[in-house]
């Protein structure tokens, strides 16, 4: 991969990020609003309290002043203070990132791996019963809204069978440590992780299936067979690696959404991650929090797109030259 290719891609990403930073500021200020007044409506604040809160919320001064101080703060990774908790937004996001990365990370990996395997199986046995059942199952789950699937699983396994808790990340009465603590968290994570895994399987299956079908028409597979290789080896050594390209790109892009990808599912299972934080910030509305979350989400999407670009350039030489 040439240095020029990399530089161009990195610069492009930085420009996009700068645009997001500026756009973010104005996005939340298009409509005139007064969060201090609505949050403390009827509370008979004194003038000092009002002025103090307005300052705390970063709403004093003209919009230009606010913009300049916003740029300065953002450059030093200070995302302001949340209206709702009066804690630094960066801390709030940091606290919520762990549960989200655990939940969405695990289910992204699972759905990518399982989905790709199902896609391989479907393509290799195209137009058999196996193909039809895999394709229809994954299409069905993929087209199901994830919150609906989540509700179904919740009703079946948490309410009906009572196998799993209905929400949260730990049992507040357990105070478990060590292995028991991990077990407690795993139990809480099972249903949301299952929901996300099943909901996103289909994407990988469909792409892997069609990509592998394309590859299967290539001459080198005929050659591989002609050499007398076993079917499994033809598949695993010659067909799948070449067909994986679009899946790798999809994975990289989807990982960009790991942070933001689970708003609905986190809300359903009261999973205290970034998705739930987004939902609550929207209900607030908690502008600094939303602003910070959008910035983090955009940055992560931009970063992983860059990774996908570079990876693609590395894996497929044709991309570099065009």
């Amino acid at each position: 991969v040439s240095a020029r290719f990399v530089t161009a891609k990195v610069l492009g990403s930085l420009v996009t990020l700068a645009f997001v930073v500026v756009f973010n500021f104005f996005l939340f200020r298009i409509v005139e609003s007064d969060p201090v007044a609505s949050m403390f409506r009827g509370r008979n604040l004194t003038q000092t309290q009002r002025a103090e809160l307005t300052k705390q919320f970063g709403l004093d001064g003209s919009q230009w002043d606010q913009f300049v101080s916003y740029l300065q703060q953002t450059a030093s990774f200070n995302l302001g203070r949340s209206y709702q908790t009066n804690q630094p937004v960066a801390d709030e996001i940091w606290d919520a990132a762990g549960p989200t990365i655990a939940l969405v990370g695990v289910s992204s990996v699972l759905s990518a791996v399982l989905g790709t395997m199902l896609g391989v199986a479907a393509a290799w046995r195209r137009r058999t019963k196996a193909d039809y059942s895999i394709t229809s199952f994954t299409m069905a789950t993929y087209s199901m809204p994830d919150f609906w699937l989540g509700m179904l699983l919740l009703v079946a396994f948490a309410v009906g069978l009572e196998w799993f808790p209905v929400g949260g990340i730990t049992d507040p009465n357990a105070d478990a440590t060590g292995l028991a603590h991990i077990a407690d968290q795993a139990k809480h994570m099972f249903l949301p992780a299952l929901t996300l895994t099943v909901a996103y399987l289909g994407e990988y299956t469909i792409i892997m299936r069609s990509s592998l079908l394309d590859t299967m028409r290539e001459d080198y597979l005929v050659l591989a067979r002609a050499k007398g290789l076993r079917d499994v080896l033809v598949r695993n050594r010659h067909a799948v690696p070449n067909a994986l390209l679009p899946v790798v790109a999809l994975m990289a892009i989807n990982f960009g959404f790991v942070l933001s990808g689970a708003i609905a599912v986190e809300a359903i299972f009261s999973w205290p991650g970034l998705g739930l934080a987004t939902y609550q910030a929207l209900v607030g509305p908690d502008l600094p929090m939303l602003q910070g979350l959008f910035l983090v989400f955009s940055a992560s999407v931009i970063f992983f797109n860059l990774v996908a670009d570079l990876l693609y350039g590395y894996l497929d030489p044709r991309v570099r030259t065009t």
């Binding site: 007064d34 007044a37 949050m39 009827g42 003038q47 077990a183 139990k187 359903i268």
Partner: protein, 586 residues
């Protein structure tokens, strides 16, 4: 695949291990749909935060569960000077904070004075005009700079001086309040933001150690999941149950539902025209406002917007204590009658001259088309608008829907840039704040700062203001009640503020776990999340044998999971072996 199988197996295996932990019988689990924003009373504003402070911090005087009258709290008795501006409180002897340090009049005086000086968010409405001194450890003297009918009630959270003073003013303003030192029945043990706050019984509580060991406030973002947790027994009680679920729980044999009224109301507010901008000219005509009032079927709104869980109302609800709300004379009520509404508009000269179904101003010209602000918050805004705009259309009035979130609507109302909207209020126990919002000087008058005011009716009535000033210093309760009733009756008559209904806090609890549920106020109020939440200290666990009737299904679940896990592991091993043989044969 192996990884996936192992992951599932691991999860399943762990589930089997951890499901053994049975719930302690004397832990009281409450679910809520809102999170505690901060444990510090200087910062937090959400309803569960108040509940947490009410559990943890006792106040100088408490409020009776039955009707909010002032009863002893940290103070056992009090006396007043003849002018009722100086009150002397005697504290209970030998009180201690939950950490064992003595709780004295120093703590009280320090809290009152520091809160006043630093204008603490949740204290200043109580202590703004008060100064406290501590002549001896069991005596607090509180002086008010004005006549204050709220006294001797002192419902400000008293904080432990030994924790809060060393922080300094700046430190206090940012302190997270997680020390767990308090004087109430329970004190904070563990707080996981976005998940739960767990409290333990305070052995030094002046009312004696509570019978329940722990209280857990749990946060559910999904109200249906919360209701499910109540049904499965993960929760003992739930606050803020959605209307439909609440109705379905009403039939349940082991769950008690409570529609707890605390005075929350919703209204159709009309721009009365005394603010920064005038509304549509027709709305300045009281006859048009009266016609609108006649076109609103409050019973239908309660039925269809609140699933029947609410009560039609006529004037401001100024307190959770229903005694403050007057009986409006029958002939002054604007009953639902579309023909009467049309007749009033016809008589006043508002006729549809161009035949488009919408009336115009007398003599033709501007049609009666009103801008109606609809809130995005809550579930009631959109359906209320649909119903009201439908009835208005029937009497020849058009509406233009304007959708706002609260922080936008606040600005719109402040600027007077509206004709009507629906929103609501939840009152404090004392009616004064709610009454104060509708005085003339609460109408936005500074165009540079339009949100510094509360009068969202933009309506000014000098007679109302005169009565307001009278009730504010009237120290005789009966006389004050009479003045307030007169104010509210006048206010209703103006037809600028059509109060639609009052609505309850929907709560539910499991009957088989605890006794001691206490409604505040009696018969109509909620059992939890009330003004002083007396239930927590009174709860007693029902004997353990009666309570543990579930658990069978979960052990069946464990068995199934274990079987599944074994099958998955077995399958995984088989697959791996098969693959190996394939490669070996290569």
């Amino acid at each position: 695949l192996v990884g996936a199988v192992l992951f599932v197996a691991l999860l399943a295996g762990m589930t089997a291990v951890s499901a053994e932990g049975q719930k302690e019988p004397s832990t009281f689990d409450v679910g809520d749909t809102q999170d505690i924003d901060s444990m510090s009373p200087l910062i937090g504003v959400t309803v569960p935060a108040y509940e947490a402070w009410t559990i943890q911090y006792a106040t100088l005087t408490d409020k009776a569960a039955s009707d909010f009258h002032t009863i002893p709290g940290l103070a056992k008795s009090w006396t007043s000077s003849p002018d009722k501006r100086t009150w002397t409180y005697k504290l209970r002897p030998n009180m201690k904070w939950s950490d064992g340090k003595p709780l004295t009049s120093e703590d009280v005086a320090w809290t009152v004075n520091t809160a006043r000086e630093e204008e603490w968010l949740n204290h200043s409405s109580v202590v703004g005009n008060l100064t406290a001194t501590a002549p001896d450890p069991e005596t607090v003297v509180i002086k008010s700079s004005v006549d204050d009918p709220k006294l001797p009630t002192m419902d400000a959270y008293i904080l432990p001086k030994h924790i809060w003073e060393p922080l300094g003013a700046k430190g206090r303003a940012k302190y997270d309040g997680l020390d767990g030192v308090g004087s109430g029945p329970f004190t904070l043990e563990k707080f996981e933001k976005g998940q739960f706050a767990r409290f333990k019984a305070n052995p030094n509580y002046y009312g004696g150690r509570p019978a329940v060991d722990k209280v857990v406030l749990r946060f559910y973002n999904n109200p249906d999941a919360m209701v499910a947790a109540l049904k499965t027994g993960e929760l003992d009680a739930a606050e803020d149950v959605p209307g439909q679920a609440f109705k379905s729980l009403q039939g349940s044999s082991d769950i008690q539902t409570i529609a707890g009224y605390q005075g929350a109301m919703s209204e159709l507010g009309i721009n009365g025209g005394d603010g920064l901008k005038k509304p549509h000219p027709a709305l300045l005509d009281k006859r048009v406002r009266v016609a609108i009032a006649h076109a609103i079927d409050k019973d239908a709104i309660v039925d269809r917007v609140l699933a029947g869980i609410g009560k039609p109302a006529h004037t401001l609800s100024t307190s959770p204590d229903p005694a403050w709300t007057p009986e409006i004379p029958e002939d002054q009520l604007y009953e639902f009658d579309l023909d009467k509404a049309k007749q009033i508009l016809d008589d006043a000269g508002y006729k549809d001259t161009d035949g488009d179904g919408i009336r115009e101003m007398p003599g033709g010209g501007q049609p009666l088309n009103f801008r109606y602000g609809v809130r995005t918050e809550g579930d009631a805004g959109a359906p209320t608008y649909e119903l009201i705009s439908g009835w208005l259309k029937e009497i020849g009035i058009a509406t233009t829907r304007k959708v706002y979130d609260d922080s936008q609507l606040t600005v719109v109302i402040g600027k007077g840039d509206y004709d009507m909207y629906s929103w609501g209020w939840t009152p404090f126990v004392d009616p004064d704040p709610m009454l104060s919002y509708f005085t003339c000087d609460q109408i936005a008058s500074d165009p540079e700062d339009p949100t510094n005011y509360y009068n969202d009716a933009n309506y000014c009535d000098p007679e109302y203001d005169k009565l307001y000033a009278q009730q504010k210093v009237e120290l005789d309760h009966e006389k004050r009640l009479e003045i307030v009733h007169e104010m509210l009756t006048r206010f209703q008559e103006s037809a600028v503020y059509d109060v639609l209904y009052t609505y309850p806090d929907n709560q539910a609890y499991r009957k088989n776990r605890f006794t001691g549920w206490t409604r505040q106020p009696a018969e109509t109020g909620p059992v939890l999340f009330s003004n002083s939440s007396p239930t927590y200290a009174k709860l007693k666990p029902v004997s353990a044998s009666a309570a543990s009737d579930d658990g069978g299904s979960s052990s069946a679940g464990i068995i199934v999971i274990v079987v599944l896990a074994i099958a998955a592991i077995g399958g995984g091993i088989l697959l791996v072996r098969r693959r190996r043989t394939v490669y070996e044969r290569e």
